[in-house]
């Protein structure tokens, strides 16, 4: 394993230390692995977070117009409730705090526990759960769908709404609307290596890719032979459109790289996705192509579609000063 690190136990703290030095607009709380805006505002506080290894998520999305606080867990492990509690405290200005949680049992449990602890301190806290990954069947009984790259668009829209001075209930409403209208589907071509493990978590042969693999290398829906960009766009979009009818609507499209897939390939994939939308009467109002929610050095990509109405389109286009999402 060749990684530019010092000690697997310290990757998160050294990364965030470096991140805060490189971005003077944030402050770093080392005990809690929390990154928060330096300038606070009286507004609804937005807290997100999750396991590390998905950079620039989540710290990169802290900034005016987006999150107030990102809470980092260890690599691929939800941050603990006490860290999230610290995040809530930092985000709170008395107007309530909204937690944006990705749907993994670890995250749900830790964020909910933190919410209870914060409420005991008198902070008003509400939460939303992002579950955009159509690779997994939705279910109320079991854990259900994962939250993946679409979360970044949720951060953006919630952030713009909160920045506008809206109430906690209003921010939550718009955030839930975003979540209801967003779908993603991904695929992986090579594994990633956890710093503490030192070898790949799974193997994909020279002639295999995995459709629907999760951003932590959780299993996907099928292994196929490598496909052309065109066939891949067909496959990924096909799964998304089978789940949600985007026909005739305006959308935001995100083509997200998982880590080691070159931007060249992401743009080629986006080109193929875009070609298929027009004939369906789907209009791309905003496109995002890049590494927004990664899985360490995994190769692969995901496609996300978000249906926009006037409100969501305006919020998506609003300014953002977050280091990894400037608009």
């Amino acid at each position: 394993m060749k990684k530019i690190i010092n000690n697997p136990d310290h990757v998160v703290s050294e990364m965030l230390e470096g991140f805060a030095k490189a971005n003077p607009s944030v402050v770093y709380f080392p005990e809690a692995e929390v990154i928060a805006r330096r300038e606070k505002k009286a507004k609804v506080g937005l807290v997100s977070g999750g396991g590390s290894g998905h950079e620039p998520a989540h710290a990169g999305y802290v900034g005016e117009g987006m999150l107030d606080v990102a809470v980092a867990g260890n690599v691929f492990a939800s941050p603990s409730a006490d860290r999230v509690l610290k995040g809530i405290q930092e985000a709170s200005s008395g107007k309530g705090v909204l937690l944006i949680i990705k749907n993994y049992s670890g995250d749900i449990m830790n964020f909910n526990l933190a919410k209870e602890l914060a409420e005991m301190e008198g902070i008003e806290v509400d939460s939303v759960v992002v579950k955009d990954d159509v690779a997994v069947k939705d279910s109320t009984y079991s854990t259900g769908r994962r939250g993946i790259a679409g979360t970044v668009l949720v951060h953006k829209i919630a952030g713009a709404k909160a920045e506008s001075g809206a109430s906690l209930a209003e921010v939550k409403r718009v955030t839930e609307k975003t979540i209801a209208n967003i779908r993603s589907m991904g695929m992986a071509m090579s594994p990633c290596i956890l710093p503490g493990v030192g070898k790949p978590g799974f193997v994909l042969g020279e002639n295999e890719i995995e459709i629907g693999m999760g951003i932590h290398g959780e299993p996907g829906v099928e292994r196929t032979a490598p496909q052309s960009a065109s066939a891949l766009a067909e496959t990924l979009l096909g799964k998304i459109l089978a789940d949600y009818d985007f026909r005739g609507s305006e959308v935001a499209v995100m083509v997200n790289g998982l880590g080691s897939t070159p931007l060249m390939e992401l743009h080629i994939l986006f080109n193929e996705v875009e070609k298929r939308l027009e004939p369906l009467g789907i209009k791309v109002r905003k496109a995002l192509v890049g590494n927004f929610m990664t899985s360490l050095e995994m190769a692969g990509a995901s496609v996300t579609l978000l249906k926009l109405d006037g409100e969501l389109a305006t919020l998506l286009a609003a300014p953002s000063a977050a280091p990894a999402f400037r608009a």
Binding site: N74, A77, S139, T143, G201, E218
Partner: protein
Amino acid sequence: MKIDAKGYMDYVAKVAQKLADNRDYVTELDSVTGDGDHWVNMDLGFRKLLEQRSTLEALSLGELFKKIGMLVMSTVGGSSGVLYGSAYIKASQAIGQRESLDVPLLAEVLGAMLDAIMARGGAKPGFKTMIDPLYQGLEAMKAALAVGKGDRAALDALRAGSIAGMEATKAMEAVKGRATYRTDKGVGHLDPGAVTMCYQLQVLADCFSS
């Protein structure tokens, strides 16, 4: 057959060793059905406890459990961190002022842990999680105690039950946790959290017996 705070930290050291010996096996299990970090998480937690061994040994038993709960919860994170954290904190309440664990108190403590894990995660026995070995081990242990079979038999029942519970996860369909993302719901694969839970219960029974 009693374990005090110091004895409990000896137990912690033995679990740490048991985990270290099974790094690749446990990692592999979580790689197949989950995200591959379960061993890293557990190892991190137990190493953290050992780092603080001298401080921890000096605590009362109830305080020790509470402190372990807090440390595990905050160091580990993830599903296992919050579940074990909640389990230890609830267990510390069950222990109260008592200064050592005997076998009947152990059953109480394990019961408190089981309740806490189920309450925190919303899972039940049969969901293919760390709950299964704990539940089946504890049921067997309680049954042995109920018919007055004595400590040693109760510990043997705990051992056998937890192994059975762990092994039973292989055939189960996952309802909570990452194995639910598999189209086969993990059927045919052991649950990693059940395996490490089982390790802990085996080592615990051994510590009482020796």
